[in-house]
């Protein structure tokens, strides 16, 4: 653009870029002068909450991040864990909340695209995805539109690229009416000696741009994700990127092909903050500089100015640093796949990100300062006032129901408990032929071709618990994720997380954040599952109304022998049903309380990690020794819902059960209380002694509670209903409402 004149840097412009006075002063200090327009844009995205973690960094430091199998912790595009036989798994979860609320289909689709690139940029072939979705109440007028759009977007992108979406979770709560959450997870497989990193080494090496052309879409996406919503947010629709899964599929195959040769030094995807973020992070990690010539960048539109080219978040693009002299080889591979490829610059030794355009220097900033020296805030924290109200709740004031079957059916039809078949039926969950346990189970299980191993993965968070006690809620998210894996026969290895919270400038939100991350940290330390990556999404607020704190935890585990994986449904009539763990008289934060009484109060269920570990170790051992026939975690809806799922979730047939729990407590607490650290297992009577011996050795409490058989589910004197009736309610509840 010859006649474009860059705007003057005014106080107003600085404010529009979301930079504070102090931050602007710091920029001036780093540069030794005032920034120009392009530089101001670059700083504003790199120092946005989304890219810089300026409010969360102090707390994230407390996470345990290393362990014997951990190859790569946080700080790279994704975490990496060793699974033996020279193989490693690469995984990460990311949020795409703000764009998905504004434009659900494209927001969710590009969320999937982004997380896939994070995985294959490390040299791994993506083999499975999960997602954690949170929508507002079903009664809210926007919910169905958002649900359809988000599920359609994930389906459209994930199916096309051919990576199966093997599991996840979907919750509905009015706290998400104005801010839905879309957290997406992908796992890839890589040979240990073929891991690639986002690093720019070797001054003189060429920097190559590959993938889609750059357009004006997504400019300031990262900044959008760093502020609250208001009624004007729909005007932000142009900052949502548009995904092209076909191009991403080509990019995936081309990148893996080029990586199989010996010519790549470093590689990083262009996600949030596009060309800016990828170039300065790669230079910063390499201790080098990068010079980019914007006139070489493939463009989709004419008249784009440097500011737009540097900040565009156009999808399906990667930045490569290649060994000098190998440019042709790289070019040929990308041309084969009909992708744009262009040498746009080179690695330098001066530590600067230097941006040229038609021979004119348009920006020059120390790369390290951009990515590492962003401001860090220790924001004020304060315990929220609502807690003194919610914690006053007592079960004693709650009328005790006289009839339970109707309540039970109501709970099974609650969208949070009901079958999510309508959701995952739109995802290709079988492509790549590795999916051993299909969606709808405690954890998804995939096999690793060429080995005897399996990988189990799950994503969990009960945000109501986190709202009522973020520390306990954070711990439970980790403990439940581990329990889900253990039920499938997997040993938990590590987690990645998406920490979704409100506005960090509010002391109550920062308090929730600190408490929740402490809970996650403490649980991860005890369960020996380090945090290897993740992201933070603040500002999930609309018109001052924040979401419940939602620290979503995705955990990955390994099954040493895939033939010994376990499933949740009852297998044979006559089998004994055992509950591992203990039942307490607690209802706080339960789905029952919310659905039946309209109350979201109380203390969430307690969690004792010693008990949790004893229960999990027992479960894992009895699965690995082949003693039991099914294992299912007790979660939302309590033991009644867990038993119902054991009865009707099998792919071939229903099984009935007669259960008698001798415990002197209220019927609703017994049936629907959500006491933690409980697993329902079933086994042949002949294995009971062996089971008892293993539980005793692990000091895990357990109760024999019933028998599999018949076609009804009978629990004490409280519930007696045909399994098929329960199943139909559970199966149809969501599809009837969308």
């Amino acid at each position: 653009m010859d006649n474009f004149k860059e705007p003057e840097i005014t106080e107003e412009l600085i404010k529009e870029h979301g930079l504070t006075d102090e931050e602007y002063e710091k920029i001036k200090q780093i540069l030794g002068r005032d920034p120009n327009y392009t530089e101001l844009g670059i700083f504003s995205v790199m120092w946005s909450e989304h890219c810089s973690y300026k409010s969360s960094r102090v707390f994230l430091k407390n996470f345990p991040t290393s362990g014997e199998h951990i190859i790569q912790g946080p700080g790279e595009n994704a975490g990496i864990v060793d699974i033996g036989d020279g193989m490693a798994i690469v995984f990460k979860m990311e949020s795409h909340n703000h764009p998905s609320f504004i434009e659900p289909y494209q927001g969710a689709a590009t969320g999937v695209g982004g997380i896939l690139r994070d995985i294959f940029t490390m040299g791994a072939r993506p083999i499975a995805s999960l997602n954690s979705l949170r929508f507002g109440s079903f009664d809210h007028p926007k919910t169905r539109y958002l649900l359809n759009g988000v599920v359609g977007g994930i389906s459209g992108y994930g199916n096309c690229i051919g990576v199966p979406t093997v599991g996840g979770e979907t919750y509905f709560n009015k706290c998400y009416n104005g801010n839905i959450l879309v957290n997406v997870f992908t796992l890839g497989l890589v040979k240990k000696e073929r891991i690639f990193k986002g690093v720019a080494c070797g001054p003189g090496n060429p920097v190559i741009y590959v993938g889609s052309k750059t357009g004006r879409d997504g400019i300031h996406g990262a900044t959008m994700a760093s502020e609250e919503f208001d009624e004007k947010s729909v005007e932000r629709r142009p900052t949502v990127q548009v995904g092209d899964p076909f191009t991403e599929k080509l990019l995936l195959e081309a990148c893996l092909e080029v990586m199989s040769r010996d010519c790549i030094v470093g590689i990083q995807d262009m996600g949030a903050a596009g060309l800016t973020c990828s170039s300065c992070e790669m230079a910063s990690r390499g201790g080098t500089g990068i010079e980019i010539d914007l006139s070489k960048v493939p463009r989709r539109e004419v008249g784009m100015i440097p500011y737009e080219l540097m900040l565009s978040e156009s999808q399906e693009r990667m930045l490569l640093v290649v060994k000098e002299g190998h440019e042709k080889e790289v070019e040929e591979v990308f041309k084969k796949w009909d992708l744009d490829v262009s040498v746009v610059g080179s690695v330098t030794d001066d530590g600067l990100l230097r941006v040229m355009n038609d021979g004119v220097m348009v920006a020059e900033i120390p790369a390290r300062a951009l990515s590492e020296e962003s401001p860090v805030y220790l924001r004020p924290k304060e315990r929220p006032e609502y807690l003194s109200m919610t914690q006053r709740f007592s079960v004693d004031n709650l009328p005790e129901p006289t009839e339970y079957t109707g309540i039970f059916l109501k709970l099974l039809g609650s969208p949070n408990i009901a079958s999510k078949g309508w959701v995952y039926g739109q995802y290709d969950h079988m492509v790549r032929t590795n999916t051993v346990v299909l969606p709808g189970s405690d954890a998804a299980v995939i096999r690793v071709k060429g080995t005897n191993k399996g990988i189990a993965m799950t994503v969990d968070c009960n945000s109501r618990y986190c709202y009522l006690d973020p520390y306990v809620g954070g711990m439970i998210a980790v403990a439940e994720a581990a329990r889900n894996l253990v039920c499938s026969g997997a040993k938990p290895l590590a987690i990645t997380d998406c920490l979704n919270f409100g506005n960090p400038e509010k002391p109550e939100i920062m308090w929730q954040f600190e408490q929740a991350t402490n809970g996650i940290s403490d649980a991860c330390k005890r369960l020996n599952t380090p945090v290897v990556g993740g992201n933070v999404s603040f500002y999930n607020e609309t018109q001052g109304e924040g979401i419940y704190p939602t620290p979503t935890v995705a955990m990955v585990g390994i099954i040493p022998d895939i033939n010994l994986h376990q499933t949740q449904w009852f297998k044979d009539d006559g089998d004994v049903i055992v509950m591992l763990g203990k039942i307490y008289e607690e209802l706080g934060g339960s789905e029952y309380l919310a659905v039946v009484h309209g109350i979201e109060e109380g203390m969430p269920p307690g969690i004792e990690l010693d008990l949790e570990i004893a229960v999990q170790n027992t479960c894992l051992e009895v699965i690995q020794k082949g003693i039991i026939k099914s294992a299912h975690d007790c979660s939302e809806g309590g033991i009644a819902v867990a038993l119902a799922e054991c009865c009707f979730s099998g792919p071939k047939f229903n099984r009935g059960a007669t259960v008698n729990i001798s415990k002197n407590m209220r019927g609703d607490c017994l049936l629907f209380g959500e006491s933690q650290s409980r697993i329902i297992v079933s086994l042949d009577k002949g294995n009971l002694d062996h089971f008892k011996e293993i539980a005793g050795k692990n000091k895990a409490p357990f109760n024999i509670i019933g028998r599999v058989g018949g076609d009804r589910l009978v629990i004490n004197e409280l519930i007696d209903c045909p399994v098929e009736v329960l199943k139909q309610r559970w199966k149809r509840a969501i599809e009837e409402r969308v």
Binding site: N159, C160, P245, K249, L250, T433
Partner: protein, 229 residues
Amino acid sequence: MKFGVIVFPGSNCDHDCYHVIKHILKQEVGFIWHKEDRLPPVDCLILPGGFSHGDYLRPGAIAKFSPIMKEIRKFAYNGGLVLGICNGFQILLEAGLLPGVMMTNRSLKFICDNVYLRLENNETPFTNQGKVGGVFKMPIAHFDGNYYADEKTLQELKDNHQIVFRYSSKNGDITDDANPNGAFWNISGICNKERNVLGMMPHPERCAEGILGNEDGRVIFQSIMKSFA
């Protein structure tokens, strides 16, 4: 015998087909890039599932112009076995190697599920190991599997016994309930008059191993091998 798996840009079941042929059936197999203008010597070609060219315009509509298609046509004309699965079936329809068209599923949504198929014709090289009336469970995963043909074409398909699979209940009843996508006459797989080209929406390669809980798809591959034995 030797298989060739065609790779279009956007194919994503190519590796799955390769895996089953090489590691489960222990047969020779190679990938063939769509820009090739010559086929290597093979006995059976597979056009795999996926989203060739992103399914942009219409599934299969762009793939039919790939250079390799000319060779595939010649190969089929000379009696070579061609199996199109899912997107491969859609490409065969677009290329005119099989009659009819695919419309979007009647639910207007992508469907990934296990369905039942009834075998209608076992006198093909792809189904000679099955019994007519036999029911097979196989996964489907598609957006456009709603098969349609005009009355005249349908009559020809019937007269020539070209309808190979129909969606059915577990017991083999052809009902509307058992029809996942609205396909005309519950059609899920058809062959050409000469019986050497088969297109099917379900994925036999996804159900050919015990660890995946279903081996019903093996019948297709075993039949192909039998016809070369």
